[in-house]
Subunit: 309 residues, 2 copies
Amino acid sequence: MSLLVVGSLALDTIETPFGRVENTLGGSATYIATAASYFVKPIRLVGVVGGDFPKEAMQRLETHEVDLEGIEVVKDAKTFRWGGRYHFDLNVRDTLFTELNAFQHFNPKIPESYRNTTYVCLGNIDPVLQRRVLEQLSKPRLVVGDTMNFWISGNNVELKRTLKLLDVLVVNDSEARQLAGEHNLIKAAKGIIRLGPKIVIIKKGEHGAVLITERTLFSAPAYPLEDIYDPTGAGDAFAGGFIGWIARTDDFSEENMKRAVIYGSTLASFCVERFGLDRFKDLTTLEVKDRFHEFRELSRFEEGDSSTR
Amino acid sequence: MSLLVVGSLALDTIETPFGRVENTLGGSATYIATAASYFVKPIRLVGVVGGDFPKEAMQRLETHEVDLEGIEVVKDAKTFRWGGRYHFDLNVRDTLFTELNAFQHFNPKIPESYRNTTYVCLGNIDPVLQRRVLEQLSKPRLVVGDTMNFWISGNNVELKRTLKLLDVLVVNDSEARQLAGEHNLIKAAKGIIRLGPKIVIIKKGEHGAVLITERTLFSAPAYPLEDIYDPTGAGDAFAGGFIGWIARTDDFSEENMKRAVIYGSTLASFCVERFGLDRFKDLTTLEVKDRFHEFRELSRFEEGDSSTR
């Protein structure tokens, strides 16, 4: 099945207590596509870069069999740049700079050959643009979208219009709370379901992820990593692993969605093991499979003789 | 098998956004014993109260088949009183007052008939007193202990002496981090294991709990409650459910420990559904069993065809 990813392509400068990298390939679409490429190829990616986008970055995308047709190159503009610094508590991050550059006037144009795409993942971009993507598609089977606090507080009306068109919303816990205006995460998810998406997936970082529908709840543990080098892109890698598995299996039954959440968690757990996208340079599908199985052991228990008095 | 619980007995005044109760039965030993009583009876409880401890409170303990022999009544003192106020975010709590009263000079005396107890749960009291309890016992098979930030920062030397004598330490995530001086929870748990306990259980509230040994990790989800009325005692109810199940089955294999974590999570999830100990007034063993099984469904997924390209 075909997968379309729309979002940002960026050059990131990242500082963590463990080191610093400058102008490394980043952006939501990049992480989503890279993670999804473990399940489905090629990946259709729509995004924009400047004339300064390095040839090696383009080659990295090609290594993951990202189709480059949908990447617009604005020759006389610079590529979107983002800088962030993580604290000793890696859950806390300061944004050092955001230079939108070519991304500022991003207006996603879906190539003719992509319009019949069956699965879509909308990275965290302006909800107006997310909608514009969907308007250009014939009839995708499943649309997964991400958003962030910036749009929740800054463009709530447009975001709510877009939410009506999503099948699955993937957000982190604070975004879910903010979007629903509700502290309890279960209630918050149900509030979001009333806004449109049939399924809400809440990413909780070191605490795992939950998938919530009107009828069910599935709780995925986090993979117990002792060394996390760089959390950048983990949420997007999660979304990519999730939609990648769904697109590969062409099965969006509840049971398969649960597996997809575990594959999302698997890809996110690899993502944070090194800086930026570095871990994906040599990550094999065998490693992905093995960790998927380890996830099962993490939360498995035998009921045994459960008689109580 | 026999179970001894040592800790505080208190009269709590609790304010949450959903209401207020005054002088309701509380204290770590009370919650631990009440939760454990769903698995093993009678519960041997050692604690101290004042002459003002209400007859109804004593009767409540008897209802849960708590043996009252070990409860010391200091006639001319008042019972330990604690007052707390929870914020809209129930994870945030202000202590309004702490009147130690009779508890201030608590010196646990283990009745002769309790000294052969096989399972022990030490509630959160001065680590010096926790040790004094153990010195009076012949040879318990498993000792579970709790502690808190007050002792970690205030009496670290004594706490570390006590840790050497515990088989299982049950703490919340911030306590684990503080005790080990390490932000990463997995590393923190391993640091604590080097201090003595073979098993560390980290309670993460709405994010569930993890059991960590030198070799394994087990992640238990939290039960998805939409309405949490009062978090007071949830951690102690967890410890009580955990040790209660172990004592009932007399099996501390790793596999059974995992079940015990789920029973702990089960009892904690009931605890927060009403104020103080109110939920336990009519909680049946059938409800406990049912929720235990629901926990399994929460994190269960079928591996299916997990082939990746």
